[in-house]
């Protein structure tokens, strides 16, 4: 390699200093323009909001067991996925059960610990998350104090319309938090 002999550690005069500073600044501009455009696109999801949640018809009362055992139902709704808009596609699932006072309780099937889908074990009469073994009562409360989940299963507002149609205000919540915070 023909490395120059002219590299010198001699102190810079003002002109030399400004020339070097200008050279560095120009180099920085050249790098920042493509990098800045790229970062803007990369960070684009930060400026967008997730679905706000809306009432979704899930099933009918007739489909719910009278004994209060939870049953899982898919939730079908409109889903916007970047450029696509899908109608009537699965966006999640809920457990529905009749309560003692004749009402309906809805729980999001997503475990509040790490976001796995929880199973209902009829033989044990409780919910069990297959990922980290969090357990919940049929009402969705934490069954075991040593459970990894830091909050109960996420309940959702339910409305019975026309005497038989079960509508759920569906939305997802951030996993791993003690508070129930909607996914934004």
């Amino acid at each position: 390699m023909n490395d120059a002999p002219c590299h010198s550690d001699a102190p810079l005069d003002r002109r030399g200093f400004f020339k070097r500073a200008f050279a560095i600044a120009l180099g920085a501009v050249l790098g920042l323009v493509p990098l800045g455009a790229g970062l803007a696109v990369l960070l684009d999801p930060l400026w967008r909001h997730g679905p706000k949640g809306s009432a979704v018809r899930v099933t009918t009362l007739d489909a719910l067991p009278p004994d209060g055992v939870p049953r899982k139902f898919p939730v079908l709704a409109t889903r916007v996925d970047a450029w696509n808009k899908f109608t009537e596609v699965p966006i999640g699932a809920v457990y529905l059960r009749r309560t003692a006072d004749g009402k309906v309780q809805a729980l999001n099937v997503v475990c509040p610990h790490a976001g796995c889908f929880v199973d209902y074990l009829a033989s044990r009469g409780m919910f069990l998350c297959p990922c980290h073994n969090s357990t919940f009562t049929p009402e969705g409360k934490i069954a075991d104090r040593t459970s990894p989940a830091s909050r109960p299963m996420d309940s959702l507002a339910v409305e019975v319309r026309g005497g038989n149609e079960v509508w759920v205000q569906f939305r997802n919540f951030e996993a791993g938090r003690a508070e129930k915070i909607p996914v934004a």
Partner: protein
């Protein structure tokens, strides 16, 4: 800080690397003519940076490629800038490569001992052209799709292995998902890896042999830093400024001008785009092929370009001869002049080609339209944006009309697409069909027998025409007032989107018109109107011009509800399966002005 840097230097030797990079000797001092290599390195860096970020948002499949590019371009923050930088820097690179090659040739930097580096450079040129070719297809728009199809079709003329090679490259017999995955892997994986390897080798060899200084040396030797660096960065800045100008140029001259790179309508395998052209720097090859008829295509596509390339590769060898350098310069000048001439011929030919210009106009219309539809509340369905255009009356209506209806009918004097058909008009002009204005013309004694209505048909001497020309012509002002009410009532049957407000406003007048139509104006002597009438001999006026009425009419005008046995020449488009139900629906919707419009567009209209 110094301690940290010393530690890092001790472990990595980074000081030596930086020194080697910055303090390369420039014989005769810094010069502007040495900037081209650095501008190319800069352009390459921009392509890598922007390409990686684009990669994070691009989805290579035939149902998602256009859609993801649209999303980057029109929706994502700064997407237009990112895509614009990538698109126009690619174009700038081609120009810079030619300038770099010219500088190398003129300075004699391709000769011994730099032959290998010259060959690396030529291979790099080919790789960059390969990146352009593969990148052109990735947005999956009409232009890229059809232009690249021509390029891959040409592969089939390669002797022996051509067809197999073509199949391998496009991932099957037809363009589809695997064409995109393969082109994307080439564009973002294989070719960039090869470029990186060759650029490292190219710069290594360049440093090994040093700059081929241009004599006479005007100054003492200098280090690369800071003077040559400064010149290089200023040149790079000029490249960047040019690219940025190209990105925003349309917006500079028009507030509606687009920003970023072009994105045409989504690729449509069912509709060839006759204005598809390769990127401008491949136009010379495109033009060159026109001079090789029939089976001699292999000469224009493969043999001659390969021989020219071989000659370019041999330039360092040729340059050893006494007149070799001059020969090489002459060869390069001839090649560049030939390329420029062929490019100019291609552009000039297109500029005077009416079909090409019409295809461009139609494509621009489809492009604007698909973006409006993509932004509509319905959004882009899972099957992709092409479905939006295929189901859009505003897009398909005029095309179907021009193919199936404009042989006899007109739409505002044209075939629906804006051109005036060569055949004479022999049926009504359907622009505004069933609107109050259209019906007022039909019932105007001076217009009913013109070609805009019945003039070109066998009905020109029929009862309806006679009734209008004799009876209506002698109407008193009061009767003319009643006629206007009848027109409003009949037009309201169509429930036209453009007239909803007027129909609601004039409801009392429309009610009055209905009574007049049934009882006073003699219409029901021949027509049926909301009451079954076996004696009716003319088209049913119940729901006249409504979607259902129009679909049934186009389906079979000779049905007893319409002209029956009196039907002139109009085919039964539905019954005879000339058009399917979806196509008839699209024509009906288009004639009725029923299509999605952006709210702001409707408001401004």
């Amino acid at each position: 800080m110094k301690v940290l840097f010393d530690w890092l230097d001790h472990r990595t030797g980074c000081r030596g690397i930086i020194r080697a990079l910055l303090y390369e000797n420039i014989p005769g001092g810094s010069r502007w003519r040495y900037v081209w290599g650095s501008t190319l390195t800069f352009a390459l860096a921009v392509q890598f940076i922007t390409g990686i970020f684009l990669w994070m948002a691009y989805s290579p499949s035939s149902h998602t490629a256009w859609e993801s590019v649209y999303y980057i371009q029109d929706v994502m923050t700064g997407g237009w800038l990112l895509r614009g930088l990538h698109h126009y820097t690619a174009q700038a690179m081609t120009v810079l490569l030619v300038l770099h090659l010219m500088q190398v040739m003129v300075d004699g930097a391709y000769k011994a001992p730099r032959e290998v580096n010259f060959w690396f450079g030529v291979v790099l040129l080919l790789l960059v052209l390969g990146l352009s070719l593969t990148g052109y297809l990735l947005p999956w728009d009409q232009k890229g799709y059809w232009a690249t199809k021509v390029a891959t079709n040409l592969m089939a003329v390669v002797p022996v292995a051509g067809p197999a090679l073509q199949k391998i490259v496009i991932g099957g017999s037809e363009y589809g998902h695997h064409t995109l995955t393969r082109f994307f892997a080439l564009h973002a994986g294989v070719l960039p890896a090869a470029v990186i390897a060759l650029v490292i080798a190219h710069i290594y060899l360049f440093r090994r042999h040093g700059i081929r200084a241009k004599d006479p040396k005007r100054k003492p030797d200098e280090a690369f830093w800071p003077d040559q660096w400064l010149k290089d960065t200023v040149a790079c800045l000029a490249v960047l400024a040019t690219v940025l100008f190209l990105i925003v140029r349309q917006r500079l001259f028009s507030s509606h001008g687009s920003l970023g790179a072009e994105l045409g309508a989504p690729a449509d395998p069912s509709e060839a785009y006759s204005a598809a052209r390769p990127e401008w720097y491949f136009l010379f090859l495109f033009q060159f092929l026109k001079y090789f008829p029939g089976t001699s295509e292999v000469w224009g596509a493969i043999i001659i370009p390969s021989l020219v390339l071989l000659l370019v590769f041999l330039m360092p060898v040729i340059g050893r001869w006494r007149l070799g350098h001059r020969f090489n310069l002459g060869l390069l000048a001839s090649l560049l002049a030939g390329t420029a001439l062929l490019t100019w011929l291609a552009v000039a030919e297109d500029r005077n080609n009416r079909n090409y210009l019409e295809a461009i106009q139609l494509a621009e219309r489809d492009t604007r339209r698909v973006r409006v539809l993509a932004q509509s509340p319905a959004g882009i369905p899972g099957e992709g944006a092409l479905a939006l255009l295929h189901g859009d009356p505003l897009t398909q209506g005029p095309k179907l009309f021009s193919q199936k209806c404009a042989g006899c009918h007109r739409y505002n004097g044209t075939d629906g697409l804006g051109a005036v058909p060569k055949t004479a008009q022999s049926a009504s002009d359907l622009r505004g069909f069933a609107s109050r204005e259209w019906l007022a013309g039909l019932l105007d004694p001076s217009r009913i027998a013109t070609t805009s209505y019945f003039g070109g048909t066998k009905f020109r001497d029929d009862k309806m025409v006679k009734f209008v020309q004799k009876d209506v012509a002698q109407y008193t002002p009061a009767q003319n007032g009643n006629l206007r009410k009848v027109i409003a009532a009949l037009s309201a049957e169509a429930q036209l989107k453009d007239q909803i407000a007027a129909d609601q406003r004039d409801e009392p007048m429309i009610q009055e018109g209905r009574i007049l139509l049934e009882n006073v104006m003699r219409c029901t002597e021949c027509h049926q109107f909301h009451k079954p009438d076996d004696q009716a001999t003319a088209p049913d006026l119940t729901g006249y011009g409504s979607r259902k009425w129009l679909i049934n009419f186009i389906g079979n005008p000779a049905h007893p509800d319409f002209y029956g046995s009196h039907n002139d020449r109009m085919p039964a488009f539905g019954q005879d399966q000339i058009l399917n139900a979806r196509e008839i629906g699209l024509i009906a919707d288009w004639l009725r002005g029923s299509w999605y419009e952006k709210v702001s567009e409707s408001a401004s209209q």
